[in-house]
């Protein structure tokens, strides 16, 4: 087995799960496996460019973002995005679950996210969902650490503003029965 082979297997063993989760968080369930495979195919092709150590993961996220962007572009990004949002309840009736207030806010934060630029959405997801640090964000976004931090800071502010604008414009619902245990 060559060094490149060993490196690839190590990469796959270590990061298949987080990369799969990354894709799961961003696309439809039926696309997750294909997208994950594509990411590792790219990693195989570019094995010499994969950063060493834990920096490999944000690099894989950068690749995954590109793969998913192409998926969305090919299939009609807005439609796909809408489907994804629908999967979390945006634009649909809330699922038969326990706390409606939580669902309303969850839906509203997703709506607020959808109003941000794609790059802002991604830096927020990478920070909050994938838990990347500033230097890891820089690798995933392929920018300097300072630029990554600035992008995150701006995105955080815009997310809160976007949420509050939605909040100011919405009406409470009888059906939701604020805070009800439905």
């Amino acid at each position: 087995m060559t060094i490149a082979d060993e490196r690839f297997r190590e990469l796959y063993d270590s990061y298949f799960k987080p990369v799969h989760a990354y894709c799961h968080r961003r696309t439809e369930p039926d696309r997750v496996d294909d997208a994950t495979s594509e990411v590792f195919l790219v990693a195989w092709r570019k094995i010499d460019q994969v950063p060493a150590g834990t920096d490999a993961l944000p690099w894989l996220y950068q690749v995954a973002y590109g793969v998913l962007t192409n998926v969305w572009r090919g299939a009609g990004r807005q439609t796909r995005l809408r489907q994804k949002l629908d999967a979390y309840g945006v634009g649909t009736a809330p699922p038969a679950d326990e706390f409606v207030v939580m669902r309303q806010e969850a839906r509203q934060i997703l709506e607020a996210m959808a109003l941000l630029k794609a790059s802002q959405q991604e830096v927020l997801r990478l920070s909050v969902w994938e838990g990347l640090s500033g230097s890891e964000l820089a690798i995933a976004l392929d920018v300097t650490v300072d630029a990554a931090k600035q992008r995150l800071s701006r995105a955080r502010r815009e997310l809160a503003d976007s949420y509050n604008r939605l909040e100011a414009g919405k009406k409470p619902s009888l059906v939701a029965r604020k805070g009800g245990a439905w």
């Binding site: 799960k17 799969h20 195989w44 326990e98 207030v101 997703l110 927020l124 949420y163 009800g180």
Partner: protein, 405 residues
């Protein structure tokens, strides 16, 4: 208004894969296949190297063959894994024949040694289109079936103390009254009249002797999509007479009311309207009305109090909505708020126990356990102890255990 930190906390809440540890895609499972793949690719690489000594041109095409193999094999492995992955709630439940029964829990505990597996558990679950309905299921997950379907969407079930009927709330229609489903006749009937200005009744719960039902009522007119008044009510099962206990103009109301076994006190939770809108606290009020007593601090976000059958304890969900991200668990306390004891020890926000209810004999506490895999029914001994899975593979909330008819 929310600030940046609150916005990020909300975003974290909607993470489709909140916990990578419990995300069941095991790379380790594919190692044998991957080893084969790498060995094959290694052989190809060695072959390519030998060829390269003769001519540099063949290397690239052979590499692409290897890459194609990588795609196919990784895709196949991923497809194989997808057959066993549990990352989404299971499909809506359908009736399951009794012959498929299993009383073994996921931990290998024989449930039939602990409880009567012929009892029913009423719960709220999703129908095929996501609409909520009330279902019955035996401990172990057998004979699941919908009840009261003819009255439309339904939920929040509670058993009559004699175990012969299930009361539940409804959604849809001009008004939304409470209904009761009779197990013997398999029919549902309206419990209390809900006529103008009543627009809906909600969250019903029987008194221990079965003579009364405490519930919440919504009054019109609807202003800005909100009822003008909401509050606690109590109704007599035989006479159908209802009595108002509290009034909350603007509908900042009480939730999940439960009558104490002696019928004198109602426990419930309400939301802190001065906070972020999600923090809750547990309160008590005399069944005749008057001032309410706050039992828990807002900072705990306690909710869903339920009385032990002897009235000595209240079981309460601490932070059932996972607001603080520091863990949600069931606790019990004396009705004066003293002697708080932790009963479950999940201590994580990604597995949250809530909707606790005592079994009628007071020996167990059944509850819903929410995780990325769904919302399952579990139980623990009333004094605390090891959790036992009752019904898994779906979405089961608001469980209520049938008293022995």
């Amino acid at each position: 208004m929310i600030n940046e930190a609150q916005a990020l906390a909300l975003l974290d809440e909607v993470n489709p894969v909140p916990d990578l540890e419990s995300y069941e895609v095991e790379a380790a499972e594919v190692t044998p296949q991957l080893t084969t793949l790498v060995q094959r690719s290694s052989e190809m690489t060695q072959l390519d190297t030998r060829r390269a000594n003769v001519s540099p041109r063949p290397k690239q095409p052979t590499f692409w063959v290897a890459a194609a193999v990588v795609i196919v094999l990784i895709g196949a492995v991923a497809l194989l894994l997808s057959q066993t992955r549990e990352v989404a709630p299971a499909a809506p439940v359908a009736p399951i024949p009794h012959s498929s029964s299993s009383t073994m829990s996921t931990e290998g505990v024989d449930i039939s040694q602990l409880v009567d597996v012929n009892d029913w558990i009423a719960y709220q679950g999703p129908g095929p289109d996501g609409t909520a309905f009330v279902f019955l299921v035996h401990p172990g997950g057998t004979e699941r079936h919908k009840i009261g379907e003819e009255v439309g969407a339904s939920g929040l079930p509670d058993w009559s103390p004699d175990g012969t009927s299930v009361i539940f709330t409804t959604r849809g229609g001009v008004t939304e009254p409470l209904y009761s489903y009779d197990l013997a006749t398999e029919t549902s009937s309206e419990v209390f009249a809900c006529e103008d200005p009543c627009v809906a009744d909600d969250e019903p719960s029987y008194s221990a002797d079965g003579s009364q039902i405490v519930f919440t009522r919504y009054f019109g007119p609807i202003v800005n999509d909100l009822p003008s008044d909401c509050g606690l009510w109590i109704g007599n099962v035989d006479t159908k007479q209802v009595t108002q206990i509290t009034s909350n103009p603007g509908c900042d109301k009480e939730y999940a009311p439960r009558l104490s076994p002696d019928g004198t006190t109602i426990a419930y939770h309400r939301y802190d309207e001065n906070g972020f809108g999600k923090r809750t606290a547990v309160f008590l009020i005399d069944v005749a009305g008057g001032d309410e007593t706050q039992l828990t601090d807002w900072s705990i976000s306690a909710a869903e109090p339920v009385w032990s059958p002897d009235g000595e304890w209240l079981v309460v969900s601490f932070d059932p909505e996972g607001i603080d991200r520091s863990g949600s668990d069931l606790h019990r306390m004396r009705p004066d708020g003293s002697e708080v004891e932790q009963l479950t020890f999940y201590e994580t926000v990604v597995r949250r126990p809530y909707h606790p209810r005592y079994t009628p004999d007071g020996e167990w506490i059944v509850y819903s356990l929410h995780s990325s895999a769904g919302t399952e029914l579990w139980m623990i001994p009333a004094e605390g102890g090891n959790p036992v899975a009752l019904v898994t593979g779906g979405h089961f909330v608001h469980p209520a255990w049938q008293p022995t008819p």
